[in-house]
Amino acid sequence: MSAATSANGAAATAAPEPSDSATVVVRGLEKHYGEIEAVRGIDFDVEQGETFGFLGPNGAGKSTTISMLCTLILPTGGYARVAGHDVASDRDAVRRNIGLVFQDTTLDGYLSAEQNMRLHAELYGVPRELVRPRMQQVMEMVGLWERRKSAVNTFSGGMKRRLEIARGLMHSPRVLFLDEPTVGLDPQTRASIWTYIRELKVAEDITIFLTTHYMDEAENCDRIAIMDKGKIIVLDTPEALKSAVGKDRVQIQTDDDDAAIAALAEHFDIKAQIAEGAVTFGVPGGEQFVPRLFAELGVPIRSVSVSRPSLDDVFMLHTGSTIRDAEEDAATNQMRTMARAFGRR
């Protein structure tokens, strides 16, 4: 099916939900590399102003999808529209409306930060009178304005990533694509990158589309699509995804753990056990449960901690494996497929 006909078809039959306002519209998107099916028919919309995350193990098809949306590779089936333009037939229009931050740095290390920014402004045709004020605005946003004269080679990994985010914003894109924006950075720098991304959402009316395989980072998104083996397994808000897991984890420290475990079984029909030196059990709506626990347990409680199910639990619920196992599977599968492909030659 060609991209053009499918786009017309969708317009005529009306997509599942009204998508006039959606900044990213994806229907039946596929990408095959010979035998390897990297993306096998995915559908989703991303609304204007949303922070949308693609979560999944390496090799799940996240980067392939983002590359198609950024017009870097052509889909082999289905279609996608970004900022109202088809990614296959109107690539330049899409590119003018998106900002890109890749996994690997794409800065010229010999040039200064400012020269990198200017180069980008010129390539994207930013009106001359706006180049300087806009550059100052976005570089201040990432805290690099004072360092604009320094050669990029002298920057740390985190600074480079911030500069790339600023550069991606230089031409006021409607969608900013971040492919693994924090990969390879230390935890502190990762946290600071996220602070900048959140601040950016306040300053600019922009849609952010990102991929990550860090569960904790995905929670910064308004909605998350979990991808595995080229398909979207589930798509919802982080809260909804986690509440679908059902149970929160409650840990209590008591004066008499055995009595507490017995009381839990008796009063609440909950099977608890000792884990990490505390009485541990799972319960739906853990925070609402705590007051009842204090009122009815009958054993003195010294401390309580309630933890939400993590996206790791979500991933486990929907795929039956942890994200780390899935990554190993994907790697071996890919090698097997490639080995087969080479064997046939």
Partner: protein, 300 residues
């Protein structure tokens, strides 16, 4: 955690920051925007060149070796054959070509680096034509190389070539042409060759034979058949020959020396006019530029 400022997922209009500056609207592509792209790619070459002082100096070493060490040393052997003309003067036009060749190929090689360091991607995803990027790159390489050429032009007096304005202009024009064509060749190769080692090996394999076959170091008449054929097939021949003619036109030497040292390139006995030769170089340069544009347009 979801953005605290925008619980609905919609960013609230930025109170101070965004109203301060009208959002940038990127215009549709036009000749103007393409020219801006050409200009900035060209400028980047110049910025990078001026920041790399070491390269400015090291790239002069080879021409100096050929001109002063080889030129001086061999002149003791060759004095009988040069009919009173200094060997340094004879090899000067060839060295002028060589200097810009090496700089130009180095400029093109930076594409391979750009690919390895990822910067190429930043350019490739920009909403401009690939041809603008390739043309900017070739013009940048040509400019940088010609700058180096100017340094060698300044040495003319040391090898007995007069500083005649017309001559200097002719030399400069030919150097620009060689530099542009060689950069185009390098860019064309860089589209396919993705590793620096391979690129350097490939260009060394092509550039050095081109230089030796071109007649930069010997007169092109009375050569053995096989060498004459190779010489006529070498594109650089058509840059060195007009360069030498321009230089020799301003020398006061005996007709015999002129006849032997500056015989001119012939095709089956037809003496090629200098302008025609320059045209050959330009045509080849444009052809390679075309192939380079085609190759880069195909890359996703």
């Amino acid at each position: 955690m979801a953005s605290t400022t925008a619980p609905s997922g919609r960013a609230t209009p930025p109170p101070s920051l965004t109203h301060q500056i009208a959002a940038v609207r990127v215009p549709r592509s036009s000749i103007r925007s393409e020219l801006r792209a050409v200009k900035i790619v060209w400028q980047r070459e110049l910025i990078r060149f001026t920041k790399d002082r070491l390269r400015i100096i090291t790239s002069l070493v080879q021409p100096f070796l050929f001109l002063f060490v080889l030129g001086t040393g061999l002149s003791r052997l060759a004095s009988a054959g040069t009919h009173g003309v200094n060997l340094r003067t004879f090899v000067y036009p060839g060295v002028l070509c060589m200097a810009v060749m090496f700089i130009a190929i180095f400029s093109a090689a930076s594409i391979v680096w750009d690919r390895e360091f990822g910067f190429l991607r930043e350019m490739m995803v920009a909403p401009v034509r690939r041809s603008s990027l390739v043309i900017g790159k070739c013009l940048g390489g040509a400019t940088v190389a010609a700058f180096e050429g100017v340094i060698l032009i300044c040495l003319a007096g040391l090898v007995g070539v007069p500083y005649a304005p017309i001559l200097l202009l002719e030399i400069f024009g030919l150097q620009l042409l060689v530099a542009f064509s060689i950069t185009a060749f390098g860019v064309m190769a860089a589209a396919r060759v993705k590793q620096m080692q391979s690129f350097m090996a490939l260009t060394q394999m092509i550039i050095l034979p081109m230089y030796f076959l071109s007649g930069a170091l010997f007169p092109v008449s009375g050569l053995p058949q096989w060498l004459a054929i190779l010489n006529r097939l070498d594109p650089l021949t058509y840059a060195v020959d007009p360069m030498r003619r321009a230089v020799f036109a301003h020398l006061r030497i005996s007709p015999l020396a002129r006849h032997i040292l500056d015989p001119g390139v012939t095709w089956f006995g037809w003496h090629l006019p200098g302008l025609f030769e320059a045209g050959v170089v330009a045509l080849l340069g444009l052809l390679m530029l075309g192939i380079a544009i085609f190759e880069f347009s195909r890359i996703e």
